[in-house]
């Protein structure tokens, strides 16, 4: 796996919210509740999770009870703050309007499993703004192909520094290198 470190202007850090929204891979203990995974393993503050993370999706299904909903490998977990609009309200945790989702899409519960698994984490809106920079600085694992597409779609991005596996590199060479490996660990530094 490629280890990529990009140094950017702090003013442009928010452009990487697009990557956080598309999702990145994180290891997590299987069979644990979403609350446990997010607080004990990923390190989210319990109060932050309770108050700020108002909307949680597990594999595209809104989660109301994150104490009894557990994760398994391959799960996609998405975190959002409270959203506007009727539909935004409908998908909120414990929403009085939850019934409007319809009975056809039940909440996922008790997947079970043991050991360490890999899940995809997506961060949206204010949640990405609040905790995204920490993830970006410490490094996130994403598909190399996705990073390549992202860089091609943002030709306006200029980097103060690019390092691949510790070696300095010209940013123009990066897309080519990203063709070789399946995944990349990306760290974004701003100074």
């Amino acid at each position: 796996m490629l280890d990529i470190c990009l140094t950017v202007d702090p003013a442009r850090l928010s452009v990487f919210q697009e990557i956080l929204a598309a999702g990145f891979h994180v290891p997590a203990p299987a069979g644990k509740s979403i609350r446990k995974v997010l607080t004990a393993h990923i390190g989210l503050d319990a109060r932050y999770l309770e108050t700020r993370v108002q909307t949680i999706f597990l594999n595209g299904r809104a989660v109301d009870d994150f104490d009894h909903t557990t994760i398994k490998t391959g799960d996609v977990l998405a975190l959002s703050s409270a959203m506007p609009g009727l539909v935004g309200a409908v998908f909120r945790r414990q929403s009085p309007l939850a019934k409007m989702r319809g009975s056809a899409i039940p909440e996922t519960k008790a997947n079970g499993g043991q050991g360490s698994v890999e899940i995809t984490l997506k961060l949206f809106n204010q949640v990405a703004q609040d905790i995204g920079p920490d993830f970006l600085m410490s490094g996130i694992r994403i598909s190399a192909a996705y990073l390549r597409r992202f860089l091609v779609a943002h030709p306006e991005l200029s980097f103060k520094g690019v390092r691949v596996d510790g070696e300095k590199l010209d940013v123009r060479e990066l897309p080519e290198i990203l063709n070789v490996e399946a995944n990349a660990r990306v760290r974004i530094h701003s100074d």
Binding site: E18, A21, S80, A82, P84, S95, L97, G102, A104
Partner: protein, 580 residues
């Protein structure tokens, strides 16, 4: 705001006007007033473009005051798109200015006998109605520039573009914003076609010399307004999410839920949605800079400021920040993932005077019909251009998704009562499907939007731990929304109202302090019910039956990926929505 201005465009020698007291309409505003006038005065079986139809422009009960968020303008008529009653509302400056000029409503009646175009000028001196054929087939942007040259920068304009003049069913009524740009639209249901049928290209408003409307109890009003504003600022949606990202913040979330209609309602996730999300849009706007880029109000007195201004890569103004619905309609629904293209399409819609939801849905149907490939941005621009030019194809497209589907033999046409659905698939959010199906307005996400269910106690209080059924919720939401629409308040206040009882009470206190009334939550809900009953009554007499309260068949037949769900609410349940 105690009088109605009636303008008879079909008067014997030339259009004539009359100012009259409110009479039986006293106490009504916004949607309450437009629907009351349409029900009482418009024959339900009349042709929407004929002389018997009326176009009613009504500010809300609190418009023209210092009340925050009170700038919505209701536009009512019999809809050329749905054939039923229509109330379409808009932000911008118009509601505040009309109210300060003292009018509770402007009613356009009759029909000119000749093919003549008029502009109406209303200011503190009075009203003048002038012939001006030089305005023919101008887009809204050029039109407003011309009117500013003639009447100065301080005017507010209500206008139609080419689509309204051509009387197309997707035509809007535009209202100018704080920068006197025609960016705010009463967009749904073809209200612009009715204005076109009246021969009115523009209404020029100037409230110079007029004062804010004075409340009966200024101190109580001021205190309630302060509390109301505080509640909006403290709430995470109205105080943070909407100002930072605008309504387009919903893109990622609705997409994640698998409820984002993509490629003409074929599946529920758009692969490239992060490229057009609110987060990406805000970042793009902020990095490009410019005045009012990512956070901006659409009228004075807005404290949420969910709008913004979209500039191109070189810093040139393109349009206002496209809304979630617009980004979806012209974006994911058509497979287009380029915000610059979407902004260009939004600008074209605003200029021609077209409903962005109807046009995006229509282009989606056209793509399904093979007129273009999904994802072909240039083709989408070309198709919308056809509407502005008024070609035969353009007139078909400008008449909406239902007609376009018929002409090109498409089965998957996402409409109810001929009006295109907005950006939430009813299979993935079934309660919204109930509202789409049963709303008096046709498929409309805002018809059941005011999430004040618990506080209004409509049809009984809803226990948050024991959610009511989706039919009951849809009914309650539609009642609450109708009531908020009558106040002239922006529906986005609803988020703070849902969570903060004191903010809801502050809104009622403002109305009471202004009018020296003692309204209760029950009275507000009764107002909402009264409005819905009036609208339902009109539609029934216009020939609507239970079969019009249905979603298109494909929603029941085609499983919707990724959750592979179909719409499961029974016809019997849909028919029970109006049991109140």
């Amino acid at each position: 705001m105690d009088k109605i201005l009636r303008i008879n465009m079909g008067a014997e020698n030339a259009p004539a006007y009359l100012v009259e007291p409110m009479g039986d309409y006293a106490g009504l505003g916004g949607r309450g007033l437009t629907s009351a006038i349409i029900l009482s005065e418009v024959p339900p079986l009349c042709h929407p473009l004929g002389e018997s139809n009326k176009l009613v422009l009504a500010p809300g009960m609190l418009s023209g005051t210092t009340a925050a968020m009170s700038g919505r303008l209701s536009v009512g008529c019999k809809s050329p798109l749905t054939g039923g009653i229509k109330e379409s509302n808009s932000g911008g400056q118009a509601a505040q200015v009309i109210a300060r000029l003292g009018y509770a409503a402007i009613v356009l009646e009759g029909k000119p006998k000749a093919d003549t175009l008029y502009k109406i000028v209303i200011n503190s001196e009075g009203v003048s109605i002038e012939t001006d054929n030089s305005l023919k087939l101008l887009g809204n942007y050029d039109l407003v520039e011309k009117l500013k040259d003639a009447y100065g920068d301080k005017i507010t304009c209500i206008s139609i573009g080419q689509a309204g003049e051509m009387k197309l069913s997707a035509a809007t009524v535009a209202a100018t914003d704080m920068e006197t740009r025609p960016t705010r639209h009463a967009a749904r249901g073809g209200v612009g076609a009715v204005m076109g049928a009246k021969g009115v290209k523009a209404i020029v408003l100037d409230d110079t010399g007029m004062k804010m409307r004075e409340p009966a109890d200024p101190d109580a009003f001021k205190a309630a307004n302060k509390k109301f504003v505080q509640g909006l600022r403290e709430h995470s949606v109205t105080g943070e999410g909407l100002p930072a990202y605008g309504t387009n913040v919903l893109t990622n979330v609705v997409n994640e839920a698998g409820a984002y209609p993509t490629h003409n309602f074929t599946w529920g996730r758009f692969e490239n949605c992060t490229r057009i999300s609110g987060e990406t849009q805000a970042e793009t706007e902020t990095s490009r800079g410019g005045s009012g880029s990512a956070t901006h109000g659409c009228h004075r007195g807005c404290v949420i400021r969910c709008s913004g201004t979209y500039y191109d890569k070189d810093g040139h103004y393109v349009t206002k920040q496209p809304e979630y619905e617009t980004v979806w309609a012209h974006g994911g629904n058509c497979g287009i993932d380029d915000l610059d293209v979407i902004a260009q399409l939004d600008r074209m819609d605003d200029d021609f005077g077209l409903d962005t939801i109807e046009m995006g849905a229509t282009i989606g149907v056209a793509m399904e019909a093979g007129l273009a490939e999904f994802g072909d941005a240039e083709a989408a621009i070309r198709l919308v251009s056809e509407v502005g030019k008024g070609t035969h194809l353009g007139r078909i497209l400008g008449s909406g998704a239902a007609l376009t589907g018929k002409v090109f033999g498409v089965e998957r046409v996402p409409v109810v009562k001929n009006q295109a659905m907005p950006a939430y698939d009813p299979r993935a959010v079934q309660g919204v499907g109930v509202t789409y199906a049963t709303s008096t307005m046709g498929a409309d996400h805002t018809a059941g939007y005011a999430v004040a269910t618990n506080l209004l106690s409509v049809g009984g209080s809803v226990d948050p731990l024991k959610p009511a059924g989706q039919v009951e919720l849809s009914r309650n939401l539609q009642v609450a929304t109708a009531a908020v629409d009558a106040t002239g308040m922006c529906l986005f206040i609803a988020f703070a109202i849902l969570d903060q009882e004191e903010t809801f009470q502050a809104m009622i206190d403002m109305i009471n302090a202004f009018y020296d009334m003692s309204l209760t939550a029950e009275d507000v809900s009764e107002l909402g019910k009264k409005i819905l009953r009036m609208e339902r009554d009109f539609n029934e007499r216009a020939g609507f039956t239970a079969k019009d309260d249905r979603l298109p068949e494909f929603f029941k037949k085609e499983p919707f990926p990724p959750h592979d769900v179909t719409f499961g609410v029974s016809d019997e349940e849909l028919d029970s929505v109006y049991n109140f």
